[in-house]
Every structure is written in C-alpha cells, then in structure tokens.
C-alpha cells in the first residue's frame, strides 16, 4: 500500500507490546481528556504527551502528518466558523464579518481538539495490528448483553475485521481504476458526472463481487460464527495494570 492513512506499522516498541484493550481504553480516556481541555496551556500538555508517545514508539512523524492531512479542509472550516462567529474584541475586520481575538483562541482550541483526537487514533492504529484491535474490541464488548439482541460480540468483531480488510483492498482497486480511466483521458473538471460514474460503477461492481467471494470462502470453510478461538491470546501485564490505575486517576480527576 502506497498510502499510510490510519494503517498499521509493525514494530517492537512499548506501545506495540501493550495489550490492545489497554490501548483502546487509553484512547477513550485520552479522548475524554482532550474534549475537556479549555485552555491552550492544557492543550500544550496534551501535545507533550503525544510527542512523548511518538518518541517512544519510534514511528516516523510523516505518518501522523499524513493521517491529519485529508481532514484539513474540515479543520479549516471549523476554525474559520469559530474565528468569525464568536463575539469579542475584533482583530480582523472584513466588511461583512469580523474575526475576534476570543474567536481565534476558541477556534484554535477546538481545531486542536480534533487534530489530537485523530492523532491519538492514528497512534493506536499504527501500533496495533488490525486483528489485535478487533480481538481487543471483542473482549471489551463481551460483558455486554448483546446476545439478547441476536448478535454476539464475536459477530461484531468479525464484521469489523472484514471491513478493515476491505478498506485497503477498495483503496487499491480505486487507485488502479483511476489510473485506467486517467489513461483514457478522464478529466474530472470537464465532465464531472461522467468522471464519477466511470469510477463508481466499476468500483461497486468489483466490491460486490469480492464481498460475494469472501462470503463463499468463509462458508466453504464452514464458518458458523460460534465457538471460535482467537489467534491472539490477550494477557494483561504489569504495565497494563499500571496504566489502568493511571486511567482511573485521570478520569476521576476530571469528574471531581
């Protein structure tokens, strides 16, 4: 795969070795913390935590830049909305609207919140293999009374791992298709509808076909969805327990 968006990078760092469950719960805790941040100083602290983690897991910084990049238009929109529609001391005066100092501050914080949410998610997906991640989620969901709704935590985990499996495949198919249609002179600016059709129709056809094939392959190997063991046996180590204590402390600090 040519692209690094939210993909797994194998390694042996501390973060790679942590139990997926710890990482998932850690992500939830840190997300709650990030959403509660209200000043730039605390945001800097979050940034510090993030940089330390990146340093520990020894991943290239470019990976994280790439995972934020596709969202830049969305972030800019949020920032500009806050900047122009918050009341306060005007610092930038355009005729219709004016940007305020308070808006700048608020916009900065809100945007950084989203950026860090994505960065931490990217950190987890980069250091956890997709199958480890689904096993972790399955184990976490197991105590829930899902079977009364006709679904097991295993079904959910299987659906997740299948979707994870399809994302890079769809992406590769899309790239090949784009290349093929570009070679035939595809120009999205000239005829956008036709351009979209020429990509979407074959992509949907290919996807439906591969979904069928995967379903057949699973069925022909007698998949029933019950009583399956997992490739990953999850064990909490001292480090995981230590982190759980930290998480509980963090959350209780926030609550009280």
């Amino acid at each position: 795969m040519n692209d690094l968006f939210l993909s797994f990078i194998p390694g042996k760092s501390l973060l790679h070795r942590l139990d997926p469950r710890t990482k998932i719960i850690g992500l939830m805790v840190i997300s709650i913390c990030i959403l509660n941040v209200s000043s730039l100083e605390t945001m800097a602290l979050v940034g510090l935590v993030f940089s330390t983690l990146v340093f520990i897991c020894r991943l290239p910084v470019i990976h994280f830049i790439k995972s934020v990049r596709p969202m830049i238009p969305f972030f800019s929109l949020i920032f500009l909305m806050q900047f122009f529609f918050t009341e306060g001391t005007p610092i930038l005066d355009l005729n219709l609207v004016s940007g305020t100092y308070e808006g700048l501050l608020l916009g900065g914080i809100v945007t950084l919140k989203f950026v860090f949410l994505i960065l931490f998610a990217a950190l987890i997906t980069a250091t956890t293999s997709p199958s480890g991640l689904t096993t972790g989620i399955e184990k976490l969901l197991r105590p829930l009374p899902l079977r009364y709704f006709g679904i097991s935590s295993h079904d959910i985990a299987m659906m997740m791992s299948l979707s994870l499996y399809f994302v890079p495949m769809l992406y590769d198919n899309f790239k090949d298709l784009k290349d093929a249609q570009l070679s035939r002179g595809l120009d999205a600016r000239k005829e956008p509808v036709k351009a979209i059709m020429s990509l979407v129709v074959p992509l949907v056809r290919m996807s439906l076909r591969s979904v069928d094939e995967v379903a057949l392959a699973m069925e022909s190997r007698c998949y029933t969805g019950q009583g399956r063991s997992s490739m990953h046996v999850l064990n909490f180590k001292n480090m995981d327990y230590g982190l759980f204590v930290l998480f509980i402390l963090l959350v209780s600090c926030l609550v009280f």
Partner: protein
C-alpha cells in the same frame, strides 16, 4: 520517433521508513512500430515502469520522453494507450458504445466522427460492431477484455501498452487476443506488452527487456534472449537446450513446437534417419 527511458528511478513511500526502491536506473528505448516484450517476475517493477509512460507516476530521477515530449504532458494520454491488468474491470458504460467512446470523447471527439471511431475500434479489436448497443456486462469475460482494448484503441494511440493481457484468458480467447495484437503491430502501432507469460509473446517480439528487482537485466532480440542462459525460457526452448546438452546438434533459439519439429527432423535426417521411421 520513439519512447526514451533514461536513468529512471522511482521509490514507493519515498521519505518514510517504508521507502522501497521500485525502479533502479532503468534505461532503454522503444522505436516506433516495434513490438516490445517487457518480461520479469512479480515485483520486478513492470507495472510501475509502464505507469511512467503516460505520466501516471512521476519519476524521482531520470525521465521518460515520448516522441520528444516529457511523459508528464496530459496530451500524451491519447498518444499512448495504456491497458491495465484485468481491463474488463474498468468497464462502466450502459452500452458498449458508451464505454468505448469514453476515451475519444474525453479528447474532444463528437457526433458522427465519434461513431465512426468507435466502429473502427471495435473492428480493430476483432469484435462485431453490432454489439455496440448492448450492455458490456452481458458479454463473456474474453469479449469484455476486447471491449476494454477497443476502448483504448478508439483514442487512435501510436503506442499501445498492455499489462499482462493474456492472464486469466482461456486458450481460444488468448489466440484471438494474440492475433489482434499482431494485426495492430502490422498496422504500424508500437505494441509494448508487459508479461511474465513470455511463451506467448517471444515469437513475435522485436525486442525483449527483462526486469529484475527494478533494474534492466537484459535487453536484446528474442533470439538473443533465448541464447542467454541465465534467464527463464519457454518450455520448448529448454527442451531444445537439453537436447543440445545431450549431444544433438540442434539450434536452441526456437519458440514454437512447429519450429522445434522441423529442427529435430532436420537433425535426424542429417544423421541418416528416414522420415517414415
């Protein structure tokens, strides 16, 4: 008038820890009207290389020019027809006509001229022009591949590049595709085939380029290719090589069963064995 590839280098994921060199100082040229086979195993950089011909990928160093124009130029895309692997997957039109006309209409062709062009392309690809009003998805896999080929031919390319055109085809469809390619070649179009199924293309390739791990391991005529012992050769050639090794004085630059039969008969005769024995 030719394609020139000079010191071409390309990396995947350049600048990250996953950086991988896909092409390493690749240089060669393809003259107009030549039939060129680019051979090499999986991961040898074949598909990466052909994506440079019409600027889908940009080289990190070195360059590709087509008739003197740098490959980044979008106008090249009508000059170089590129048919990807499993091209039947790229079909999207409600009718065969709609699909084939996609290319030329992107380059500004309209009306009767467009209809004319689509008909020509269908005939050139060896299809019956009557199918132009039916849905491409109702055709067989082999015919769908030919429709995709017609979709590229309809742009009237001067060079046509095909990625593994025979993979997954049954013998009948393979033979008809090969004869279509031969016909294209004799009508003056340069045909560049990228394939690891060399048996199919060696007999009529003017030039063979063997890629190994992203660099050119061999360039030369197909006869020369057969004689260079290091490379993979068709089954019939390895039979002849084996016979020579065992002391029969046969030629080894042989591609087809017929040729091999004639050569073996010749050698047997010269040893005094009569035909009906």
């Amino acid at each position: 008038m030719s394609i020139e590839v000079k010191e071409l280098e390309f990396f995947y994921n350049k600048g990250t820890s996953l950086e991988k060199k896909a092409l390493d100082r690749v240089s060669f040229s393809v003259r107009k009207g030549e039939f060129v086979l680019i051979a090499g195993g999986i991961g040898s950089g074949k598909s990466t290389l052909i994506r440079h011909f019409n600027g889908l990928l940009k080289p990190h160093s070195g360059f590709v020019t087509v008739d003197g124009i740098y490959s980044g130029d979008k106008n090249l895309r009508s000059k170089i027809g590129l048919l990807m692997q499993y091209p039947q997957r790229q079909l999207f039109g409600k009718t065969v006509f709609e699909d084939i006309s996609f290319g030329p209409s992107n380059f500004g062709l309209e009306g009767d001229a467009l209809k004319e062009r689509v008909n020509e392309a269908l005939i050139l690809a060896g299809l019956n022009p009557d199918i132009s009003e039916i849905s491409p998805f109702s055709l067989s896999g082999g015919q769908m591949r030919l429709v995709a080929l017609a979709g590229v031919l309809s742009m009237k390319p001067e060079y046509i590049v095909l990625d593994e055109p025979t993979s997954g085809l049954d013998p009948d469809n393979k033979i008809s595709l090969l004869s279509t390619l031969k016909k294209l070649h004799s009508s003056g179009i340069s045909v560049i085939v990228v394939s690891h199924q060399i048996d199919d293309f060696l007999p009529f390739a003017d030039k063979v380029i063997l890629l190994k791990k992203g660099s050119v391991a061999f360039t030369g005529s197909s006869k020369e290719y057969l004689c260079s012992a290091s490379s993979q050769v068709p089954v019939i050639t390895s039979l002849m090589k084996d016979m020579k090794y065992r002391g029969f004085d046969v030629a080894v630059d042989i591609f087809s069963v017929d040729e091999a039969f004639n050569e073996i008969t010749r050698v047997m005769r010269s040893k005094g064995v009569k035909k009906d024995e």
